[in-house]
Amino acid sequence: MNQIATPAVARRGFLTGALATGGGLMIGTAVPVSGRAATVTTKAVTTSAVNAFVVIGSDDSITILSSGAEMGQGVLSSMPQILAEELMVDWTRVKTAPAPSGAQYLNPVTHSQSTGGSNNMRSWFKPLLKIGAAAREMLVRAAATSWGVTVDKCTVANGVITNTAVTPNVSLSYGAVAAAAALLPVPQSPTLLSATTGYRLIGKPILRPDIPSKVNGSAIFGIDVRIPGMVYAAIKNAPLAGSTVKSVGAAPSGSQAVNLGDSVAVTGANTWAAFQNARSISVQWTPPAGTLLNTSAAIDTKLVSLIASGPAAVGEKVGDLAAAMAGAKQTVSMTYDLPYLAHACMEVLNATANVTATSCEVWAPTQGADLNLYTAMALTGLTADKITIHPTLLGGGLGRKFEQDFVAQAIKASQALGKPVHLTWSREEDFGHDLYRPVQKSKVTVGLDAGGNILGWNNRIAAPSVLQTHFPKYVVNGLDTAALAGATGLFYKMNARLVDYAMLNANVPVGFWRSVGESANVFVIESAIDEVAAAAGKDPLAYRQAMITDSCALAVLNAAATAAGWGTKPAAGHARGIAVYYGFGSYVAQVVEIAQATATTIKVVRVCCAIDCGQVVNPDTLIAQMQGGIVHGLSAAMWGQVTFANGAASVRNFNNYPLVRMPQMPKVDVQIVNTPGAPIGGAGEAGVPAVAPALANAYFALTGTRLRKLPLLLAPAPRYDD
């Protein structure tokens, strides 16, 4: 199995570094910008790194770096937007760029430069305000010093500092003082102007600066990186995960093959030729030893036994479940099934590496620039200062581009060939050698009193563990808390509850998938609550309203229901379903409206979504994330599944992995619900989990049939060919 090659020592070292620098406030030191020196001169324009995030040119150009991986969620815009709030610059003049790997860019909460778990806004909001304010104060101080006045005589607006001590006032632009500002000490407690004036930029639907490059072909994704002297290469992964290369046959004429240990890289005159060569080369493999559990039917049998009985790690235990169940007037029990899923990023895995005896540079569409650095250190033996990771734009990440396999392969191939290598996975390799969203079974047993109140709640979850394969130290006594995400701490009134987890040890690689544990558990819980409501004879909305103990959850529930016209009779042949949850720091409710299309199929007509993520940075981006998350959730709920036969994935390309296309796109309506003063929540994953249960609940409302197994397969697969 492909695992993250992160040396624990290096990791701890960086963690300390991040804390020492106050989570990014390491200002005034030379900071590499995309591998260039902090101060460079081009065409008589001098650029100065005022701090690790702010680069100002003598021509008044302003570049703000984002430490987040831009995979569509807009972080290349929204992180700089927060910083620009306090920097006091004109947003239309701001350029943004991805930050290279570096201790200054480690997330102050997670101490990592990885983007995942909808974490960037949540962790960086306050630090970025401070970093922007600190940079502004340095610029103002530099100007004040040049005028021989105190800073309180200076005002600042739109990147211009004005000296009010003289009449008429005189001004200096940021560009004129940036070089001097970069040499000043860093204010550790800068004043936040927004604390008194309110936000100027934050909360506004400003235009994303990365979008113009995405409409004219100039945006550079990892797959577009071209380095002088580089060779094109393609990958041949082992057909069976965990295998090693026994022998490599002759490379096709004009190509070179590199044995990477667990895979083979093969070069070609271009990417297509490399694909052909990788396909045709003959490789003998040594499969992993022992009996492998890697066929779907056998995995299913094992899951059935794991949820039925046997030991499990306790994730949440409140009260006396047995006593509560004994007192129940009615007990309902349901088993839910979720499949393995592929990531299917629009951009296939790829990476470009240039390794020499003394240096290593990597360009990759990566969600984990810091992890790439550790991978490069481990493989090359070079120290961090000799390595530069250049994160590029990502054509989707979805959790897959957090992994290190494709980056490690490019580095090893460059080492072996002694030249820069641009390595691309074919779509077939990408689907066939994913680290899949785990399969899962959940058995939920609920004891109710005569009024439909929940006396006892028991949820036994059986699933493979992503933590076990990626971060085993976080698995304590068999408990994978990530597998339980969204299944514990529920906001419904319930007396006794027990949520436990039985780990499935199968030989199918698993990984984090957009909306992680919630992608599975919210389907289970919000389906089960709907079933409980039906058992109690209650309307699904009214039951939730009565049982929810959290006012924010109630607010989004009501907002989505109102927008969807819940309570009014749907059109003939239509029905609605609802789901609500809390995850990634945000509350989300969705109402899915479906229409009977044929006797056996439905069409999703409309999705009304309400989100409360606390402080909104860019409402237009938030709406886009909900729209996209809903599409992602809908594709998975309808058709998403990968099955395995002796380790071989059933899916190899988009022709047998159906995804929503234009004709299947429902009308999506997004309400932003604001709780004043609420902490900032995530958005990238928040839109995904509620779709599947709301859809299954709508199907129950339409037909009276309860669907507990994903995918629902309620509509024909979208056509993929013209």
């Binding site: 979008i211 694909f275 796109m665 979208p718």
Partner: protein
């Protein structure tokens, strides 16, 4: 591998390439000519990321050999407008359509062709004409941007 020297007309310019004549146009554009705006998604005509205009019609370049492209006018995303101000590009920015952006070169070219033949398409006509895959799920904004251009 036998190579041939072929002459192509790409974005109004004559380009000479020496490649295996079976190479798909996609990879000649990307790897030989450096026009990386055209994207690889599937290689089997199943996603539309590689869409280019061939004599004005939207075609998937992943399954068209470079030989088939000889003598025809190829337009890639880089050649749609010298100033990036084609109405579709303008609308895509106004409506903030792209998320990751990876599918959008193909999406934009496919939409530009649709609007040439049908300047005011209905939702049903959009659905039947545009089948490009967007894993980010920008479809609603694609529709809105098309209606914005059409003045609907």
């Amino acid at each position: 591998m036998a190579t041939s020297t072929l002459t192509l007309n790409v974005n109004g310019t004559t380009r000479t390439v020496t490649v295996d004549p079976n190479t798909p146009l996609l990879w000649v554009l990307r790897d030989t000519l450096g026009l990386t705006g055209t994207k690889y998604g599937c290689g089997i005509e199943a996603c539309g990321a590689c869409t280019v205009l061939v004599d004005g019609g939207a075609e998937k370049s992943c399954d068209m050999s470079v030989t088939e492209a000889v003598g025809r006018k190829i337009t890639t995303i880089e050649g749609l407008s010298p100033t990036s101000t084609h109405p579709v590009q303008v609308a895509w920015i106004a409506k903030q359509v792209p998320q990751c952006g990876y599918c959008q070169s193909g999406m934009i070219l496919a939409v530009s062709e649709l609007l040439k033949s049908n300047p005011k398409p209905t939702d049903a006509q959009i659905d039947s004409a545009i089948n490009n895959l967007c894993v980010c799920g920008t479809y609603q904004r694609v529709r809105e941007a098309i209606h914005f251009i059409a003045g609907n």
